[in-house]
Every structure is written in structure tokens, then in C-alpha cells.
């Protein structure tokens, strides 16, 4: 049984890139919305959470139309001589969109748990807002942020429906492990499908476990704010 291992690298590359993107965007969105007091808060929150509740195929179709060649975005990219649909970037876009709500929701939960008195105390002491964010908010919310990151990575790694719709199935380019599993199983190549199933199982388990131990390690070695 000869196996082309390109889906492994594509999957790891896609999930890692998507996690970095979602980590930054998710925290930013969570932070902005925690501070936002306007009437649209509920609506904005729903929109940001939508990819989590919609079926991935709906997200995929939406992205296909939004980024496709006949859309304004697609035409702009086309004039620059590039395309997102059916390229590796499409796998990242699909994985990021579906993983985003997990990061955003968990981070926002963590931000809202923070005792506002601590932040107000810092303010009365004249600490600038950006410093409060980096030195107080982020460390206090870190367990939640770490959990969100693990969830986002896991979701990005397992993304299938939306990915297949916007990135297609191009071996060596956009074929991720879940897509490979689907086509091997459909094509009756149960043995190969099984190899991929085992592999994705191992990757998920290793990443989640490492992340858990790391969070635990940090909790023990940075006692200042978490031990209360």
C-alpha cells in the first residue's frame, strides 16, 4: 500500500496557519466586544458565532459565492492575477472561518470573568490601557484563551465540508486529511482511509494533551494572578 503523505503536511500547515489567524482575530474580536456597550452587541455576537451553528456546507457555499470568481472580491483578486478558490489559501480561509467562533466565544467568556475591580485599580494607578491589556487582562484570561486555541486547532484540523466546497480536492495542493479520508472511503480504499484515520487521531490527541500539560505547567509556574 503506497500512500502519498501530502495530505498530512497540508493539514498541519492549514490547521497551524488557521490557528494563528484565529488566535489573533478571535482575541481582538472578544476584547472589542467585551468593552462594547452598544445596542448591536447581541447581533454582532450572533454573527460572529454563526459559523459554529451553521452546517459547514452552508459556510462553504457562502464562501464560494463571496470569494468566487464572479464576486467583487474574486474579481479584484483576478485583476491582481490570483485566486482564492481552489488554492491552498482556501483551505486556510475555510478552516479559519469555522474555527473562529470557538476562539472568540471562549476568549470572551474568559474576559468577562475578569474582576473589573482589578482593572479599575490599575487605572487609578495610572497604568495605560494597552499595558493593562497585556499585563493584566491577557494573563488573567490566559486559561480560557489557551482552551480556545486548542479547540480552534482541533476544529481547523477536522474541517471538511466547507473546505471541500471552496478548496476542492486537489491532491498535493488542497487535499487535507479529512478530505483524503472521505475519498479513500468512498472509493473503497478502506485500508488507506484507516491509515489516515489513525494519523489524524494521533495528531489530535498529541496536540490536545501537550496543550493541556502546558497550561497546567504555566498555572503552576505563574502563581501571581491565577491562584486566587
Amino acid at each position: 500500500m503506497s500512500i502519498d503523505f501530502s495530505p498530512l503536511w497540508i493539514s498541519i500547515k492549514t490547521a497551524s496557519t488557521a490557528t494563528v489567524l484565529v488566535f489573533l482575530l478571535g482575541i481582538a474580536a472578544a476584547w472589542l466586544l467585551t468593552g462594547y456597550r452598544g445596542k448591536l452587541k447581541g447581533l454582532i455576537d450572533s454573527i460572529l458565532t454563526l459559523p459554529l451553528v451553521l452546517p459547514p456546507t452552508v459556510v462553504g457555499f457562502f464562501l464560494l459565492v463571496l470569494l468566487g470568481r464572479n464576486s467583487p472580491i474574486g474579481q479584484l483578486l483576478n485583476s491582481l492575477g490570483t485566486q482564492i478558490i481552489f488554492s491552498w489559501s482556501a483551505t486556510v480561509v475555510a478552516a479559519s472561518v469555522v474555527a473562529f467562533p470557538l476562539m472568540y466565544k471562549t476568549a470572551r467568556g474568559a474576559f468577562e470573568q475578569i474582576d473589573i475591580n482589578i482593572i479599575n485599580a490599575a487605572r487609578t494607578l495610572g497604568v495605560p490601557e494597552w499595558k493593562i491589556f497585556w499585563k493584566i487582562t491577557i494573563p488573567l484570561a490566559w486559561p480560557g484563551i489557551a482552551a480556545g486555541t486548542v479547540l480552534a486547532f482541533a476544529r481547523a484540523l477536522g474541517e471538511f465540508g466547507a473546505t471541500l466546497m471552496v478548496a476542492g480536492n486537489i491532491p498535493g495542493k488542497t487535499q487535507t486529511i479529512p478530505v483524503a479520508i472521505f475519498f479513500e472511503a468512498e472509493g473503497g480504499e478502506t485500508g488507506r482511509a484507516f491509515v489516515w484515520v489513525i494519523l489524524i487521531f494521533i495528531i489530535s490527541l498529541v496536540v490536545m494533551t501537550l496543550m493541556n500539560y502546558w497550561t497546567e505547567y504555566q498555572r503552576k509556574n505563574m502563581p501571581s494572578v491565577w491562584r486566587n
Binding site: N70, I85, M165, G168, N169, E186, G187
Partner: protein, 270 residues
Amino acid sequence: MKKFQSIIAIVITIVLAIGLIGCGTKNTADIKSGQPEAKNVTLTVSAAASLKDAMEEIKTLYSQEKPGVTITYNFGASGSLQQQIEQGADVDVFLSAATKQMDALKVKGLILDDTRKDFLKNDIVLVIPKDSSLIADFKDLTNANVKKFALGEPKSVPAGQYGQEVLTKLNLMDAIKSKVVYGKDVREVLTWVETGNADAGIVYGTDAKTSAKVKTVATASEDSHTPVLYPAAVIKASKNVDAAKDFINFLYSDKAKPVFEKYGFVFVAK
């Protein structure tokens, strides 16, 4: 406080118990009342995705003739439908878009051989988005301005398998290999072409006919691929063999013929 909690617990238990008794009685009543009307059967029909529109119309037609029979469809790629049946899915009738899947089930003894018949034939065509004029024939796929070309995954999608045969026969497959995007079924290929994200795609003649957003530029010659025959058969494990046989005979009959022809199929059951 403790007392209050235990009262609540007792109330909840009673409510749930009554609820459960209620369910139980209702179910027995259903079974009792259902027994005299044994004619009410539900047939599960696993059909290739390309048959979707025609089969929905067949369903309406058939329900006029046999009001007691409810038809439930399960549409998908023939390969996955075959897999589901092999894994023991509760299916009564299988309509495949290629003989390969039906043969596989036959070898495993999962179909009633005497009910099997190739009843439809389809064309393999090359489609492009409606407002495009990029290509006019299969050989134009090698043009540099054709960036992405959609094809069903040959291992599981019959349309992809036929398409690959055509391209291999025309000696084009190697030249365009880098442009191919493999779809999980023929409808996905069609969506990609409809939305203009693929410059061209290979689908069935019937798919091209149902979509207003694509146009057919070439039809593969009959000798360039194995004939696209749609076999049907009753699944051996069916619990409603008689009803299933009746339905399948309806598909083979002249009543069903105009429906299939309307959607671009060639009716070959005799």
C-alpha cells in the same frame, strides 16, 4: 430548605413517571391501530445524485397510483450508496449511475438478481459557465487560459470515471492533470462551473440540461467511454420486497418513460 428540595424532587419524579406511562400507552395504541392497514409501507430508495429531479417527479406520479406507499429518497454518489448498502443500511431499492457499483453488490449477493435491469442511458458532456466562451471542445482544455477544470473523483463518482475515460481516449488527461479539481459528486462539479469557479467541467447530459447557468459545448462520442447505463435492483435485505418490486416495475414501465426523457435520459428498459 432540605424539605423543599425533596418535595420538588418527588414532584419531578411523578411528572416524569406520568410522562413515561403516557408515551407507553400511546405507542401500544399506535401499533394496534396500525395493524389492520398493513398496506402502508415506506420504501427507501437510494438513488444516484444525477437522478434527483426525475425521481422527485416519479414520486408524485407513483403516489397517485399507489397512495399507500411512501417513497423516501436517499440521494448521493453511487459509490457511497453502495458502501451504505454493504454496511447494512436499511434500503429497499438501489438506482446506480454505473454498473460497477451494482456489480459489486451482486458479487456480494446483496441484490435480487432477477429484479436488476439497466433502465436508463446518459451522455457525458463538457460544460462551461453560461456567459463564458473560453472553449468549444474537449481539446481546448489544454489552453493556458483554462485554469481550473472540474471532474468527479474517478474512484467514487461514475461521472468522473467516464470523464477520465474520455480524456484518456483523447490523450488529454496528462496535459490537464494539474488543472483538475475533483468533486465529491457530479452536482458539486456542476456548482463549481455554475459559479464560474471552474472554467469547465464534465457532467452528465441530464445535469447540463437542468442547469440554466451552464452551457454544453461538447458531447463525448459514444465510443470514447463505456456506456453510461443506470441499473436498478431490489435489495435482498428489503423488508418490503413486493412493494419494492412493484415500484421498480413502475420505473421500467411506459408510464415512467416520458418523465425520464423530459430530463434528458435515454429510456432503455424493455
